[in-house]
């Protein structure tokens, strides 16, 4: 079993779409939401995906294909 902590950021026009629910229905991952802020113009969630590595990867790909930014929780990683 694998787990991954992630921050999902929704672009404004995608906030109303049930993207996460699609993830649940299509892949075998458990979703554990820890923090969220979803308003009219801003939408982000901090959550943990628990499941098989391959399933988690597929879940992330689906989110990215749907325009969601999928970032690690882990501090600040990239510095150009």
């Amino acid at each position: 079993m694998h787990s991954m902590k992630l921050k999902l950021i929704y672009p404004e026009e995608k906030i109303k779409e049930p993207i996460l629910s699609k993830v649940c229905k299509n892949f075998n991952v458990d979703i554990n939401i820890r923090k969220a802020n979803v308003q009219e113009k801003i939408g982000w969630l901090e959550l943990e995906f628990i499941g098989d590595e391959v399933e988690i990867e597929k879940a992330i790909n689906l989110l990215v294909e749907n325009g969601v930014e999928v970032l690690p929780i882990e501090g600040q990683v990239f510095i150009e």
């Binding site: 991954m4 902590k5 992630l6 950021i9 820890r34 923090k35 802020n37 801003i42 901090e46 992330i60 990215v64 930014e69 999928v70 970032l71 690690p72 929780i73 882990e74 501090g75 600040q76 990683v77 990239f78 510095i79 150009e80």
Partner: protein
């Protein structure tokens, strides 16, 4: 009693032992080092520090390391009274803290990486890693080389190789990942969780970021153990800015200086200013942005310490301002021609913003002001292409020299 009590979640306050961890299990908030200031106060003194090594390790009593082994010559950079720039801006007590000459890789990152990798060695790690294309990678690769650690650097694969020569020279394993920055970041954090490596900006981040406090300690000591009225510093993730604040507060807490902590003025590039925007709009959360600026070293669209930086700006009665790409270039040129210091775009941003605050009368002429110059201009010279005076071309003839050079620029004789 130990100087470090443990780690604590900045959000919910949950406590953790001193381990290479960085995220709260409960709320996913960032973890921070907690010190026993009562205990530290008993051991620390100005005299002891002044007798210490000429490096950031003279402040070891306020750093989360017991036995420094990496980066023994980092820090202890010059603090320069900037008379010429001060005159131009109408500031009588302007100082430049010049980390463009930090050892060994010419940016303030040598401070944080020294602390991160010294701690990593204490934890028993033999491999250092980071995801970076710039200053951070330079510093991690250099320190890993001298410490005899394995080193991995992760970059997006569409990056031109000449951009990372300054890291490649130290012979790390560079992994070019097919994907964008988000993909590289996600992979890095997965690797950090799975392998026993010290990812400087991930699992040892609580220790890493403490290194920036030494920018406050050194300035206070160099000013004769006093705290400046105002400081100006750049913000990328917001770590440096918040830790400078923490550093000055700690000096007061342990009784090394008197007075109050400085007003914290911050600088971001207009093309990547999520922290400035949050402060201006009165938000306590950050709306991530897609960076679009020449100031690559401070272009972080989703800054981890953004909310804490906003808090520091408010608490210190400070402010954050932005500079356009054009103003950043002007800032680089201004510092060079007045003080003889060649900084990169982060420093250009700081100088541009310092100028704005001075011209707006937000900084009083007699205040003691310190501007933090965090990186070196020789690393990113391409940003100045086409922005500087061209050489004057002449034939090897004295007549032409007099006509075209002397006649044009200065009075003859004298």
């Amino acid at each position: 009693m130990a100087k470090v009590k443990g780690l604590k979640c900045k959000e919910c306050g949950a406590e953790y032992p001193v381990e290479p961890i960085h995220v709260c299990e409960f709320c996913f908030g960032p973890l921070e080092i907690v010190y026993d200031y009562q205990e530290i106060k008993k051991n620390i003194s100005r005299e002891k520090i002044e007798k210490g090594p000429k490096s950031l390790w003279r402040y070891i009593d306020l750093l989360p390391v017991e036995n420094p082994t990496v980066g023994l010559s980092a820090g202890f950079t010059p603090l320069i009274k900037a008379e010429n720039l001060g005159k131009l801006l109408g500031l009588n007590n302007l100082y430049i803290k010049d980390d463009s000459v930090n050892h060994p890789t010419l940016s303030f990152k040598d401070r944080v990486v020294s602390v991160a990798l010294s701690k990593a060695k204490e934890f028993g790690f033999d491999t250092a890693a980071c995801a970076s294309t710039g200053n951070l990678a330079n510093s991690v690769a250099a320190h890993a080389a001298s410490a005899g650690m394995n080193c991995y650097v992760f970059i997006p694969s569409n990056l031109e190789t000449n951009k990372i020569i300054g890291s490649l020279v130290f012979n790390p394993v560079v992994v070019a990942v097919d994907g964008n920055y988000d993909d590289v970041n996600r992979l890095s954090s997965e690797i950090a969780n799975e392998f026993g490596w010290a990812f400087v900006n991930i699992n040892v981040r609580p220790f890493y970021s403490e290194g920036s406090k030494t920018l406050a300690f050194e300035v206070a000591e160099q000013l004769g153990w006093r705290i400046p009225d105002t400081v100006v510093a750049p913000l990328a993730s917001g770590s440096l800015y918040t830790k400078i604040w923490k550093g000055f507060n700690e000096l007061i807490e342990v009784g090394l200086v008197e007075g109050k902590p400085p007003r914290m003025l911050g600088a971001q590039a207009e093309g990547c200013s999520p922290i400035y925007q949050a402060l201006k709009e009165g938000r306590d959360f950050i709306k991530p942005v897609k960076p679009n600026t020449i100031a690559k070293s401070i272009a972080i669209g989703n800054p981890a310490d953004g909310p804490y930086a906003v808090k520091v700006a408010k608490e210190s009665k400070g402010d954050i301002q932005i500079a356009t790409d054009e103003e950043i270039i002007e800032g680089i040129k201004l510092l060079a021609k007045t003080e003889g210091i060649f900084t990169e775009t982060a420093g250009g941003t700081t100088i541009a913003v310092l100028k704005k605050f001075a011209e707006a009368g937000i900084i009083h002429k007699d205040e003691v002001v310190v501007a933090y110059i965090t990186g070196n201009g020789y690393k990113t010279m391409e940003v100045l292409e086409g922005k500087l005076e061209k050489p004057i071309h002449i034939k090897p003839s004295l007549i032409e020299f007099k006509e075209k050079v002397i006649g044009k620029n200065v009075k003859v004789g004298g």
